[in-house]
């Protein structure tokens, strides 16, 4: 691929940057997919690294697996609180005209714990068992409608469609209007400079429209017998039925965003990784039982969220470096997932790894991804059904990547299907 020669040039340039001047907050590094070379240097030369100046201000980078685990599990020192900046490298600013959403991912205990406990049953294993047949039936429909031997965009036709329909299933959302969920997910994380919304006022308006829509669903479900969709669970559960409306909306949007970008990009990333590693693709074709270990390997390999951020509530030492109270601390999951000292041949995609679930993509500690089993379920179903139908999903051109420091996204992936 043409990317190889580009990487050689870039690799030399990257090697020449003084270590203290490295700034991994630039979205272009992720879009060009050269970010790995920067993290290789940080892990080797300065695994706990301070960047003095960047477009998001000064921040610490934590790049090794064990150090990341130590920060992630220490929520008493490293806070997720929105008012302190929240959970991403870019501060959750209080922008005029923006809607202030309450989401438990950006809260500390005890409030975090109460809200998380209330929403968890919707994505707990026993509920997923009930949802699995519907998700599979809908996945089959998506795959059966795809053209054979013709080039099309995998991201739009499969990755987005599958994650959107899963969300619609989870919420028992009106089927024909399901792309509203995709839109609201994009709008929730959008700032005006992304072009997704024109202004914060426009964003606010769309989110209010979203709120009213869900209010309608809530009113309908609360008057019906309890069912296993998320809205019905929340409308009937003592822990959530009296939830203030902005909290209800915030938690719904958290689930929409959490279940959308992430799994979408793992679905695309898996196709790309198998094409870049033909030996692994052959292994899979010869033995589909490897899907079980391939799914967590795809999630490690893609690392759909590159990082989570915390704010230090007191001075603390990590890897011999002194973090000060109030400092912004960024746990780079994408880097920790390539840490050779913890993961054997970490820079290789291997679908039959011995211990594939030992990765950082879901985070650890009390904020560990709540939808992790749902993500794995969707990936497992789609690969089982792909295997039954197609000998190969062939990537036919260069992927396009998202301009984002947080979401490691693939926006376009041209493919052609080979019938089995």
């Amino acid at each position: 691929m043409s990317i190889d020669t580009m990487e050689l040039d870039t690799a030399e340039k990257i090697a020449a940057i003084p270590i203290d001047e490295i700034d991994v907050s630039r979205p272009s590094l992720f879009q060009q997919d050269t970010i790995g070379l920067f993290f290789d240097r940080l892990r080797k030369e300065k695994p706990v690294h301070y960047c003095r100046e960047s477009h998001v201000g000064p921040f610490w980078s934590i790049t090794k697996f064990d150090d990341i685990m130590a920060v992630d599990t220490n929520h008493k020192v490293f806070s997720s609180e929105a008012k302190l900046g929240g959970i991403a490298i870019q501060d959750m600013h209080s922008v005029e005209g923006a809607l202030e959403l309450e989401m438990f991912i950006a809260m500390d205990p005890p409030k975090h714990d109460q809200q998380r406990k209330a929403v968890t049953p919707a994505v707990a294993p026993s509920n997923l068992l009930l949802l699995e047949p519907t998700i599979r039936e809908r996945a089959c429909q998506i795959l059966d409608d795809l053209p054979i031997g013709e080039e099309f965009d995998w991201v739009d036709k499969v990755s987005i469609e599958l994650t959107t329909m899963t969300l619609a299933t989870l919420f028992d959302f009106p089927w024909e209007e399901r792309r509203k969920l995709t839109r609201w997910s994009d709008v929730t994380t959008a700032a005006p400079e992304t072009g997704i919304v024109a202004s914060y006022e426009a964003r606010r308006e769309e989110l209010i429209e979203c709120a009213m829509y869900f209010k309608g669903l809530w009113d309908q479900r609360v008057n019906e017998p309890p069912r296993n969709d998320l809205i019905s669970i929340m409308a009937h559960s003592p822990a959530t039925k009296d939830m203030p409306f902005l909290e209800f909306l915030g938690n719904l949007l958290l689930l929409i965003v959490g279940g959308n970008d992430t799994t979408r990009n793992s679905i695309s990333g898996g196709v790309l990784a198998l094409n870049q590693n033909p030996t692994e693709y052959r292994k899979l074709n010869n033995d589909p039982s490897l899907i079980a270990s391939m799914v967590p390997e795809i999630i490690r390999w893609q690392t759909p969220l590159t990082h989570m951020r915390r704010t230090a509530l007191q001075d603390w030492e990590i890897g011999g470096k002194q973090i000060k109270k109030g400092d912004k601390v960024v746990m780079w999951y994408l880097s920790g997932n390539r840490d050779e000292t913890i993961i054997d041949q970490a820079d290789r995609f291997i679908i039959d790894r011995k211990n594939p679930r030992h990765h950082l993509s879901f985070g650890y500690g009390i904020h560990r991804c709540m939808g992790n089993r749902l993500a794995e379920l969707q990936l497992r179903i789609i690969w089982e059904e792909i295997h039954k139908r197609f000998a190969k999903v062939e990537v036919t051109g260069e992927p396009e990547r998202l301009y984002s420091t947080l979401v490691r996204g693939i926006t376009k992936l041209p493919v052609r299907l080979h019938a089995r």
Binding site: T73, K117, A124, R357, G365, I366, R368
Partner: protein, 108 residues
């Protein structure tokens, strides 16, 4: 070696042995006992080695302590009970000989 029995949700009993000083998580993983994932590597960070200690053993093993990391994680686990523990936090010392642990249907 210390003997420990894992009882799956369908009632299947598996008696395995593990070297003293390892934990109940290793007892399951090293012996291929299904139903224990242990994603985080035994660091009390993911709650995917959730077990229900047999009521006859709970006092010897000890209960969750409020405010500690293990209890904080298990509060979100499906089906958590007063007998819930993380297998990675149960050291297999000689006095645990004969321990009985019940494995939930699924880890979360």
């Amino acid at each position: 070696m210390v003997k420990v029995t894992f009882v799956s949700s369908d009632g299947t009993r598996r008696e395995v042995e593990i070297a003293e000083g390892e934990t109940a998580r290793e007892a399951a993983l090293f012996n291929g006992v299904p139903g224990i994932d242990g994603d985080c590597g035994g660091a009390c960070a993911c709650a995917t080695c959730h077990v229900h200690v047999d009521p006859t053993w709970i006092d010897k093993v000890g209960r969750l302590k409020e405010g500690e990391a293990e209890a904080e994680l298990l509060q979100f686990a499906e089906g958590a009970s007063e007998y819930s523990r993380l297998a990675c936090q149960i050291p297999m010392e000689a006095e645990m000989e004969g321990l009985v642990l019940h494995v939930p249907a699924q880890q979360y």
